[in-house]
Symmetry: C2
Subunit: 381 residues, 2 copies
């Protein structure tokens, strides 16, 4: 076999794909496993996206290559969304790049800004893809520890003590996954100062803004942010469209243009009718958000009860699609997750997969119905 590149040697198989295979075997043996581990929204997307899809698909221009930049009207809808929701002004001509999901944006921005040997600040705990994109480009992850004590916000004293000369990018993700922690305004202001001082590009991955969050915030709303920050957002969680693959990169023209240069060499614009559906979703009125969060609130109440039953402690003042629970002292996240899968046929996420700072935690998703969550509760009785 012709050898693969070194960049692969350090990138492991995604925990979930391995675990889901094991679960499939258990199910084939007759076990009834309840999966409350994964954050894939189960609720319906806005109804209007389906008619938008069908109506757009029959137009003559629907089948041809689309612009790398997406339709102007999609960029305008995204600009309006950012203006309405975050009070952020973006130029729809060059300050917004539609993406096939924000996950694509992690790799694209890494490709755009990282040389081999550069360093990247990555939250621990955090979304594993920041690390794998970094490693795929032979850049070096430097993990910054988040702690419950500091409400899972970065500690600048510790950050400043590190050698930051080779750091090019810093990944942020507020509201934070997996902990649900919400950033303060003060934090964003400090981060912008920090980034300016050390010439680091901040990228805030912001897909959870609208889930159980009273105060959706974009890093781009703070003074000076556009000089040193980009934001990624997504329709996956806000509009229950994860499989449609629609995300966006937002920020200053100079940065967005550089990412577009990479993107234009890698893929093409997304399917016309999906872009039209995305516009329809972005135009949802306030009711959409209220209804969505009413459902998640009820589910979260039950998940809190599950956490109580497991003697896990948790913060009620969090946002996002998950509850993050600290396990009792005599166990750890992996042991508790294994126990729940083996003894109760319930699959939860052990916190260690998000980094060492997560090892005494488990994460439970709100993407299952109240009935399913109640069944879990019953199994624990």
């Amino acid at each position: 076999m012709i050898a693969t590149s070194n960049r692969l040697s350090d990138v492991k198989e995604y925990y979930f794909s391995k675990k889901l295979r094991a679960i499939k075997i258990l199910e084939e043996q007759g076990q009834n496993i309840i999966n409350i581990a994964i954050g894939s929204p189960d609720l319906d997307p806005p109804k209007q996206i389906l008619s938008a899809l069908t109506n757009a698909s029959i137009l003559p221009q629907a089948n041809g290559y689309q612009s790398y930049q997406g339709l102007p009207e999609l960029r305008e809808a995204m600009a309006k969304f950012y203006k309405n929701k975050f009070k952020v002004n973006l130029n729809p001509k060059n300050g917004i790049l539609p993406l096939m999901g924000s996950k694509e944006g992690i790799m694209l921005t890494s490709l755009t800004f990282l040389n081999a040997g550069d360093s990247v600040l990555i939250p621990n705990p955090g979304y594993p893809t920041y690390t794998s994109a970094t490693k795929l480009l032979n850049a070096k992850p430097i993990f910054y520890n988040l702690t419950a004590k500091n409400n899972w916000l970065p500690d600048f004293k510790t950050l400043e003590k590190q050698d930051l000369t080779k750091v090019k990018l810093m990944w942020l993700n507020y509201p934070h996954m997996p902990t649900g922690s919400v950033a303060t305004d003060k934090l964003f202001i400090q981060l912008i100062q920090f980034a300016k001082k050390h010439k680091i590009l901040l990228i805030n991955d912001n897909p959870y803004s609208f889930i159980l969050n009273d105060n959706p915030t974009s890093i781009l709303s703070f003074p000076g942010a556009k000089d040193v920050a980009l934001e990624l957002n997504s329709l996956s969680k806000t509009f229950n469209m994860p499989g449609w693959r629609v995300g966006m990169l937002l920020g200053a023209e100079k940065y967005v243009k550089a990412v577009l240069q990479v993107k234009s060499n890698m893929d093409s614009g997304m399917y016309f009718a999906i872009q039209k559906s995305a516009i329809a979703a972005l135009e949802s009125d306030e009711n959409w958000y209220t209804k969505l969060n009413t459902v998640y609130k009820k589910r979260r109440d039950i998940v809190w009860q599950i956490m109580d039953k497991l003697h896990c402690s948790y913060n009620k003042n969090t946002a996002g699609l998950f509850v993050w629970g600290k396990v009792p002292k005599q166990t750890n996240g992996k042991a508790l997750a294994d126990y729940l899968l083996e003894e109760k046929q319930v699959f939860v996420t052990p916190g260690f997969i998000f980094g060492s700072q997560g090892k005494n935690y488990i994460r439970i998703s709100l993407c299952e119905t109240e009935n399913v969550l109640k069944t879990v509760l019953n199994r624990l009785k």
Copy 2:
């Protein structure tokens, strides 16, 4: 501004995006430009894909994250397509990876196999994306010259004279774009021997197989190919679905699996309803191909007349979506293309954009109606 990575310094803006901006300005000045430069199929895709899209979009599983590997039934449809059309047996479980267009496959395979400093054999003339993906990863393009004399097939004597020790990949693209040259069986057999001898992975980019080609061929149909070759294919040209972004990577499990490892860290599976539409397209019967080529044949007749009018010489025994014409001795491809745009308001592709070997050529696309092509002919009278 925080600097972009070195990988960008060597990647230029795509010729077409620059030229199309200039054309837009001419049109705003009132000129009626006819664009016969670009290979974006204008014909309708198979009708059944639209109902497949609509029907699939309303299913409950349509909105969620999809597997990185795509639906099993999509991989099975792709396997059947390769079996029927190319007599190639592929394991739908692990020998096929659905892609968001074959262009994505160029970057993915480059990421999977290339270290910085590796070399890559790239055809001159050839599709510019092979070069930009290579440069984006700080690998080194080594161009192998194709000549009309050798019917645009690689010359092994010259290839063997080069230092091949650092070569990891070799891009092939038969039927060849831009020349339309079709590979012989002997060539594929020689290429496989060459690749085995020098431990080079061949990737045949095969999107033009079914356009004006009496004998569609996959490199994977030759003995030993799977040890040293992958193939990329696409629904863009065969089914007039370029904007839908559906392609595929095909070959031995060991290689496909490695590419999947990279892909799973970069994006997610494609939209469920698009996968269902792709299945519907792949199930088209023989009539589809006959009808498609009847239209292209008529158009090509007119393009040949255009080439005659321009005193360009061309090979009638070619495949694909373009006619590749050698310009008269007293001019070159760029000068003729500029003249046609300025004096006749006709946009054709100058061959130099595919490499130095294309500099005395122009390329005309078959993606315009007979009427439009006849208007071009009239403008030249």
